[in-house]
Amino acid sequence: MNLIRDIYQSIVRRDPLSTDKGKSELVFLNVWLHIHPAKVKKESLKFKHTFYLGFITFFLFVILVTTGIALMFYYRPYPPHAYQDMKDLQFVVFMGPFLRGMHRWAAHGMVVCVFLHMCRVFYTGSYKKPRQFNWVVGVFLLLLTLGLSFTGYLLPWDQLAFWAITVGTNIGSYAPLVGGKLREILLGGHTVGEAALLRFYVLHVAILPSFMILLTVVHFWRVRKDGGLSRPVWKLKPNKPEQLVTIGAPPQTAPLNAVAASTDKTYGLMEVVTGKPIFETITPDEEEDAVFSYPYAFFREAIALMVTVTGIMAISLFFRAPLEELANPAKTPNPAKAPWYFLGLQELVSHSALLGGVVAPTLMVLALLAIPYFDRNPSRRPSDRKWAIWLFTIFVVANLVLIVIGTFFRGPGWALVPPWVHVVAGAE
């Protein structure tokens, strides 16, 4: 029995979780958990502040990596086999449709959640100093998410795949100076063929996920180093520098048992240096408001994880990932539509490939990247940032409107057709 106890204690060296020291050590003696602080501000964990969108996005990515690796066992990125393997996954492989469904729906979910997460961060002003750079990292994570979606849907080698990549890489060729070469490098040739499939596969399973993981690590690290999870706007301290107090009565905000740093606490100091930290600091009375990450934060994260996984599993039980007919370079489907999240872009390129496909998206990304540096208003209160909120809302609505038009109002030949009118494609 002693041996078992010794082995257990060699693995788990913290104090029991019933003690505060044990709760802290659980976090900072564990390599996987120590990205968390030992204590978090209670209000930062409020669901209605963040909707846990960042966590959910991360969990969706975990689902995508897991199911993606599983799918790799049955998929060969070579035109004669690729579509056949998709059919095998659909009809032969044990749990194949379920795994492919999870991969597809988690991917769609990730696009949605990344976007909503960005909106949440904007509307709560959480990109403001000192968090500007983390917003920039986030924009690149959004681009990587879209890049992974784009490279992912070539792989089934069906009609959607073939024509989406044909159109997508042709949009790239409109880029000034490098366009033509860019397309040739992406495709490994001049047409969408076996070289292109292999290249998109390598991008999809190796290169883009690596960058995704690297930037995710930076993103999380910076959340922590920039002051932890952002605080809800409604918990911000009022702008008034001084509060009126009645002499003789205790101030309303005074904590009941505020004490100075106690001598019971121990600190591990690495080095004493002078200077003010760049991140938000906690004052003793704010610390009263903090709770241990174990169990408060971990419990909520576990709930978010379970809801995300069961949600994706449930959707995958009832809805299969779509698979169109085998890629046919000779026949473009009519209408040929990209997945919904690219239909806004497709709507733009249907007006002009250069302006809609290259200039507008580039300007949009540059505008997103510039937000934290141009918005120098330090206040996070919505009432102080009406202009910023209006501009961003217009941006969001414009994107949604374009997607809705592309999805529901475009028929054969990309003609404007209301969704309640049924048109039989006029192919002759």
Partner: protein, 151 residues
């Protein structure tokens, strides 16, 4: 090491390192450009003149071309690849025009853009008669819309 030495060795080092990085990046780009393309040839034979009917164009699926044969004017070959974003256009007999399914570009029978986002007219390729009597198309040789081969 004095200041002068430090700066001269230092700048030499920076230049060497910069050159090394630039050359390596160039090598990476060159590596990604295939030296051989395993793609269908750009020049190919499409059959004898007698294989093609007069009037409406014949669509060749694999080559993505339309072959026109006119009683007075002879043969001409148009690309079926939309100049906008590379979808395959279809020829509608009803209006004798080319329609692109992706973004709605419409081309006239001579290849010029009638409406839609396409920036350029459809391409016309050189068509010649090979020694064995077959028609030969060269997609690398783009010719003006009026080009005809009389057989």
């Amino acid at each position: 090491m004095n200041r002068r030495n430090f700066l001269s060795w230092g700048s030499a080092g920076v230049v060497t390192l910069g050159t090394g990085v630039a050359v390596s990046l160039g090598a990476v780009v060159r590596f990604l450009m295939p030296s051989v393309f395993y793609e269908p040839p750009q020049t190919f034979k499409i059959g004898t003149p007698g294989d093609f009917a007069f009037g409406m164009p014949t669509f060749l699926v694999d080559e993505k071309i339309f072959v026109f044969r006119d009683r007075e004017k002879g043969f001409s070959v148009a690309s079926a690849v939309c100049t906008h974003l590379g979808c395959t256009v279809a020829h509608f007999q009803s209006d004798n025009r080319f329609h692109c399914p992706c973004h709605g570009s419409v081309f006239a029978p001579d290849g010029s853009v009638i409406h839609g986002p396409a920036p350029k007219p459809l391409q016309w390729f050189e068509v010649t008669l090979a020694r064995d009597g077959q028609l030969r198309v060269d997609k690398d040789k783009v010719v003006p819309a009026g080009y005809r081969l009389m057989v």
